[in-house]
């Protein structure tokens, strides 16, 4: 015998308080005067919505002046008229706003990643980056495959030495081909960071051998975007760079280290690459062995670098190895902490980019 409550509430919310009782009461009175049945409810809902829209748009606050919605709509109309009348000026304003908002979002993203919410890697206090150095430590650079393998084999002050290098992967075979931000990572990469896959597994030592390296781990974003979040994709073959790769795992949500990575493949060295000392393309990270300090690791790395210099003087002359915490400055002349390169790239860059895109779109 009573009208639908939600419709009654809608009407009461939309209508000016000074008219609320009389209007809702009138409509209820008319509702009761109609023949009972479902159509009566439908009629009530329709009329309540009509009244809510009509009277809600005209609603006035207690003080003199126009209602918020009316005022907003007239402001919107005025703004649109000005945009049409002065397109050049409007474009300048829009670009300025977009740049301002984008910059703001980027700066906040950096502060968020560096200060508000630092690393979420497990034991990140023990994580170090091993940089190759030149000119007596004045410049930092990445490491060659052969030097990386030697360091991994001989170092004792650090454990789980792992490396990664760029991989411009192209996903084909489904929908449009897509260029992906990929990285070849050595086994132990995910374990070093304390990252467990959301589905499947990470890479095994066996997959670091040429011919066995046709496996990939997909980022959560790529998995959802291109494969609809289908768990069945794990164990299935996909086409990357025109070759079949088996999906062995899905990374946890938001993990895109390094540099917004969307796909990871195992870093396998062919015999030719294993002896490559001139192509310095790997970033090397490690975890300090229990009880060891960065100074211990640095002392050992200095000895190992001298040994490498003696063995291969033509490519390692004047080169060393620097151990840096991910929080420490990467060089005396550079105030950007190494954490920036890791955390900021993982967390801040994609978020800032999204925020900047949203700002640009909104403005």
């Amino acid at each position: 015998l009573t009208p639908p409550r939600w419709a009654e509430r809608l009407l009461s919310t939309a209508v000016d308080p000074s008219w609320r009782d009389s209007i809702a009461g009138d409509l209820r009175e008319e509702y009761l005067a109609r023949p009972a049945g479902r159509w009566r409810d439908v009629w009530y809902c329709f009329e309540a919505m009509r009244l809510a829209v009509r009277l809600g748009l005209r609603r006035r606050p207690a003080r003199n002046g126009e209602g918020f919605v009316t005022s907003f709509l007239s402001d919107l109309k005025y703004a649109l008229r000005n945009v049409i009348r002065q397109p050049g000026y409007s474009l300048v304003v829009a670009v300025t706003l977009a740049l301002g908002l984008g910059l703001n979002a980027a700066v906040f993203g950096m502060i968020d990643a560096l200060i508000l919410r630092p690393f979420q890697f497990r034991d990140y206090q023990r994580l170090v980056i091993l940089w190759g150095t030149t000119r007596g430590g004045a410049e930092f650079e990445t490491v060659s495959p052969a030097n990386f393998l030697d360091l991994r084999r001989q170092a004792r002050s650090v454990e789980r030495i792992t490396a990664w290098g760029w991989w411009d992967a192209t996903l084909t075979g489904r929908e449009e081909p897509e260029r992906l931000q990929g990285f070849r990572v050595s086994p132990g990469f995910f374990e070093l960071l304390g990252i467990a896959p959301a589905l499947g597994r990470t890479f095994t030592e066996d997959e670091a051998r040429p011919g066995h390296d046709r496996t990939v781990v997909l980022s959560d974003g790529l998995w959802k975007r291109r494969f609809g979040g289908d768990p069945g994709v794990v164990g299935r073959d996909i086409l990357v760079d025109g070759s079949q790769y088996r999906v062995v795992g899905i990374a946890p949500p938001h993990f895109q280290f390094p540099m917004g990575a969307e796909v990871w493949g195992p870093l396998a060295f062919s015999p030719q690459h294993a002896f490559e000392r001139e192509a310095r393309m790997l970033t090397v990270a490690a975890k300090l062995a229990p009880g060891r300090t960065p100074e211990d690791a640095q002392a050992e790395m200095t000895l190992l670098a001298r040994s490498l210099e003696r063995q291969y003087p033509e490519v390692n002359r004047g080169r060393g190895v620097a151990v840096r915490w991910w929080r420490a400055p990467i060089s005396p002349g550079c105030c950007w902490p190494a954490r920036w390169t890791a955390s900021a790239n993982w967390r801040c860059a994609p978020r800032s980019a999204r925020a900047a895109r949203a700002s640009c779109g909104n403005s």
Binding site: D21, S22, A24, D26, R28, L32, R54
Partner: protein, 111 residues
């Protein structure tokens, strides 16, 4: 404060309906009166907007009845035409009368 000025056609009709209904002039019968006597089916929202405007101009005054269970514990809002409202109706009627004056034959031919 209110001014005695010309009324729109719909405003005149609403004021006349309120006068006709005397003590029973609230929105529901006002709308029925307009439908039956003037043949105008008007939207509820338009009627409330007009009532509100006429009251704000001082042509109408409203009072509330006791709440009733039939209306879910809500009051009726009854309307009365004020002296300003009556004066405005007279002014509008006089203006119309002057405009119609001398046009009886022409308007009669069109019928």
């Amino acid at each position: 404060m209110a001014h005695t000025s010309h009324l729109g056609e719909f405003e005149q009709m609403v004021l006349l309906a309120v006068l006709r209904l005397r003590d029973d002039a609230y929105a529901v019968p006002i709308r029925e009166e307009l439908a039956q006597r003037a043949g105008r089916r008007i939207a509820r929202g338009a009627l409330y907007t007009t009532l509100e405007r006429l009251e704000a101009k001082g042509y109408l005054r409203s009072t509330f009845s006791e709440p009733t269970a039939e209306r879910g514990g809500r009051s009726r809002r009854y309307f009365l035409v004020t002296a300003y409202g009556l004066a405005a109706l007279r002014t509008s009627r006089e203006a119309l009368r002057r405009m119609y004056e001398g046009l009886d034959r022409l308007l009669g031919e069109n019928r």
